[in-house]
Symmetry: D2
Subunit: 354 residues, 4 copies
Amino acid sequence: MTKRFKAAVIGGSGYGGGELIRRLLLHPDVELVRVASVDFIGEPLSAAHPNLEGRTDLKFEGMSPAEAAQGMDVVLLGLPHKVSATKMPELMATGARVVDLSGDFRLRDAALYKKYYHAEHPCPERLTDGTFVYGLPELNRDAIKKAKYVASPGCFATTIELALMPLAKAGLLDGAVEVVGITGSSGSGVVPSAGTHHPVRAVNLRTYKPLDHQHIPEITQTLRDAGAKNVDIRFVPVSAPLSRGIFATCFAHVSEGTSADQIRALYKETYKGEPFVRVPEKRLPEVAAVSGTNFCEVGVQPGTDGAEPGKRVVACFSVTDNLIKGGAGQAIQSMNLMLGVDERTTLEDPGGWP
Amino acid sequence: MTKRFKAAVIGGSGYGGGELIRRLLLHPDVELVRVASVDFIGEPLSAAHPNLEGRTDLKFEGMSPAEAAQGMDVVLLGLPHKVSATKMPELMATGARVVDLSGDFRLRDAALYKKYYHAEHPCPERLTDGTFVYGLPELNRDAIKKAKYVASPGCFATTIELALMPLAKAGLLDGAVEVVGITGSSGSGVVPSAGTHHPVRAVNLRTYKPLDHQHIPEITQTLRDAGAKNVDIRFVPVSAPLSRGIFATCFAHVSEGTSADQIRALYKETYKGEPFVRVPEKRLPEVAAVSGTNFCEVGVQPGTDGAEPGKRVVACFSVTDNLIKGGAGQAIQSMNLMLGVDERTTLEDPGGWP
Amino acid sequence: MTKRFKAAVIGGSGYGGGELIRRLLLHPDVELVRVASVDFIGEPLSAAHPNLEGRTDLKFEGMSPAEAAQGMDVVLLGLPHKVSATKMPELMATGARVVDLSGDFRLRDAALYKKYYHAEHPCPERLTDGTFVYGLPELNRDAIKKAKYVASPGCFATTIELALMPLAKAGLLDGAVEVVGITGSSGSGVVPSAGTHHPVRAVNLRTYKPLDHQHIPEITQTLRDAGAKNVDIRFVPVSAPLSRGIFATCFAHVSEGTSADQIRALYKETYKGEPFVRVPEKRLPEVAAVSGTNFCEVGVQPGTDGAEPGKRVVACFSVTDNLIKGGAGQAIQSMNLMLGVDERTTLEDPGGWP
Amino acid sequence: MTKRFKAAVIGGSGYGGGELIRRLLLHPDVELVRVASVDFIGEPLSAAHPNLEGRTDLKFEGMSPAEAAQGMDVVLLGLPHKVSATKMPELMATGARVVDLSGDFRLRDAALYKKYYHAEHPCPERLTDGTFVYGLPELNRDAIKKAKYVASPGCFATTIELALMPLAKAGLLDGAVEVVGITGSSGSGVVPSAGTHHPVRAVNLRTYKPLDHQHIPEITQTLRDAGAKNVDIRFVPVSAPLSRGIFATCFAHVSEGTSADQIRALYKETYKGEPFVRVPEKRLPEVAAVSGTNFCEVGVQPGTDGAEPGKRVVACFSVTDNLIKGGAGQAIQSMNLMLGVDERTTLEDPGGWP
């Protein structure tokens, strides 16, 4: 059976690349034609992704991004930050649709890009001219459907944005938000390092880049787009000893006049009908319920206290699998929307428990 | 769209039940009509299986097995050992096909059942009259296709049998086989106990029932069916701190005249064309490559030493996800074969890495 | 050699009891005379604590607390909340010093006790009459030295109080403090339950009792004692998949006039000379550096932003081993102070890395 | 107080070095004078060992081994294999006692060294002339007391040797022994690599070097020294997702005439009085009971079957903390013996549970 669309993965040897490939191999409408990489050239995909042993005859190809994109309906980029931006002009010349998993085209402000990614952006005009749509379907579904270029959100960013979006959309998010995002180790990628060395990581909890993580401006921009006012994200990431999953706790401070019941109803209402975000009825979000899947769980616990005059604290929670809804799964979701196929294709498996 | 077959899960609140339900909800040909349980009666399935939150409107129903089986084409049993055997007569009276995940109908020898399960079998005639087919497709595919009743294999048993089957089928397996099977904690089921208490389990390795595990006679019987002679399984199970997966190491002792290359070729050949058993080209089996999937990886390392006159030691390795290929996935595989649909339906996802 | 003091552990079969016993067995000045318990009566201590196999001939004794305290210089209580309060009158009648690890005598406000422990306090007069000293040496060292009765702090409470105490003592802590405390599973104790069932816990992150944990009033009371003003603790506990350790992130909001350097200097200064609290020079606190030890690490990251007029956010971090500095180790530290022996006795081992 | 002996650690930045330093800092009779390293020169020890933050003013010194050994009573070497052998001649010239944690002086057969360590030994005469004593106190206590040079055993080797030594000493060990050794990740050392990358390691079980591990000749030599005959070790190492600990399962095949009770009694008898090896009364060995300590637990499960004419299979189990009894702790034990101080000094803590 001939599939309708052709796709290539560029930068396919990392964890995100592996998840993209897995989904594309299962996709009824999209054919994975090739996988480009600078590592493992000439080797089968299973050299990097042992789970793909025997599942495909494709090999990693040592092509340039532009070569890899030739003749494709869509390319999905698993390239590192900074590399993606450098390769984008040649990629855009090929005419292929692009879903970029890197952080290079998420921010509209080149100064913030420089501040948080520690590099001049090579094509800053692309940040401001509307070329890229931010690939969060819960905010930008219609725009994604029409988009040729999508900047797929970061893992922490996705998780935290979905935790706070009901408040933002309702105009209730204003001012400081304190956030602790706890993450599994797969978010650090495939390259071994001190922070992901098992002997220590397995028994450790530590923070890195507190109040200084590069997803802060991405979250701020997105929440403003959704309706937040002077939102000020104070974000502390924490490394935890699990392989997959993010758990975000956000303290928002809403007007005292908004009741706990109103807030709960708002969360239910916001995500009604969303295929991949759910608000559990009788419990708060937990990572094990979504790991291995494209689902996000969101929950809320309004506070009863009142240290701040006129304000009520609201603890907002959210969980995702950082590599799927926080990465490759969401990219496939955007690809599906761009191609006009069912948004849920290859993403509906609710995963195992536990 | 109406699906062709109707199914019920009986005993659906455990981990095995959850995996069965997950697959059936995704199945294009089989409709999950109901889930019976003695726990959570009247509650949504997500009360036991948080991953199913919002995926189905089904609730746990407090029906007897016979009631639950009424009108079904097939029922899948996630009942405990001993309970399954007690309920089987009434189930068989309903006319539904049955796939039983318990150990109650795997052994043909009622005396061994009594010895290892510590109970008289309530219907021992069913063990010897050919009513049940042992649901290991790699050995009994044709018989499963024709079967009305399948006894689905145990998790350790599946893993160890697949590690040794190439030798057994080739008539090379004779005499003692030393086996260490290392297992994740989900194999112990959903009920909390000292052996699965996280504070200790997370930092522990220990054995239980060494040389006395109830899968020993199951493995012995199956390997004999496959062609082994006086096989004597010395099996030591070890608990390890991961949630899912089994890693089996088996020491077989083959005739010195069989070369290392012959043995390697034998493994390749045996599993050629098998949809769910693979022999990786360039590495040995590892749990992370198969966890979350119905795949089994098998590998072999022939020894060069010769302490035993005329014998060569062969280290055989195998990995499975204990809840899928070692449990519910394999049961679905048998169900597919029984119903005449593609054996691989709902089971083809190669899972994530890591 | 005769040791100078005699001690008993009452309620010695839990994890806290085990840590108390381990330290007392190594103590040069205190002899562990007996261990009372309602479980394991007549069995060796290793029946509950396998690490003590062969280290002592003591057995669990089925004595009442008052019987166990007879002739003792000090008793250490590992009893559950509510049980401890019930047994206290008879214990006090024996004349022995008491260190109580339960939450029963930490709060001075019986109404808060009732609200958070869901029971009327059986001897509320003991909460207000100064009988008990709160056993946090960094705040109450002199009082502990003179105390006959010590209420040893909770694990989350210790960790969070030490994170915030420099600000409290300096009069800089006022108003809301948002706190996320991430904990290992051993804090849930020795009894298996759904929340500590390994198959799920090993791959999960979830919250419980958000904004409603019983340590909130304990932390509030202690920080006020240390100098905080209208402190309002919004505390979200999160369960993580490790056995031991707590990582606390606290967002304090100090006057903008206080510089980042002043804050850093304050932390250094506050804990200068403290034997068990340290402020690492070149990194932030991490659990693996203190697990298995009585040490607490504290660190601070002042923010540069200013969403709140006149305020500066300060992220404060702290780590402990929940069973040692957050439990039995700190109790031994108090016992040492009460008995007039070197506070550090049996507690100086810096533990392993990793 | 002046301590009687002076010691240096050479190669002190790895995990073994860290454990040596920790013990020496606590030692009442031995003063740690200096720590030499090629990494972290000039930095405090806590740069490599965060647990030592604030515990010592020592810094890593960029000295040659010979310089570091000047004036020392004993030096402990945490150097890599092959480096240790190269530096030994200059070290021996200093007159200091040496405890070497590397594998360079354990084997007496230079050909086996070459085969398993893939290098010519630079001073093979030192392997055969009795210069080095193999530092296993349970076998060589008297020789260690008199030794000037000790080759401290490997982690797998220690664990497996202690599992089998009772049979070896009794002359019951003859012929093939199948062994599976399951290890935590800290045994792979401090340098991050693919095999210890947390995202995969945390959910994996895999083997490496099956039937080919470098500890095979070490174990064989030691068991022969202890009384075994033609022992043939078939050893499969398996990586498991925990930080510390080894669990070894060994299948020995003894004469059928030896009863199960005799074997059990033999194990009890062999280790009676040993300070660091214990045979638990009512359970089999488990890692959590010894991790963080210098203790080894040994146990045995005699089989009742008889596939081999005249033989009885015996499953022997053993657990250690790979960095302590399997590494630095045992080296300190040897050092204590060499210096004539109590063998147990700094090693008596039974650790925590869990």
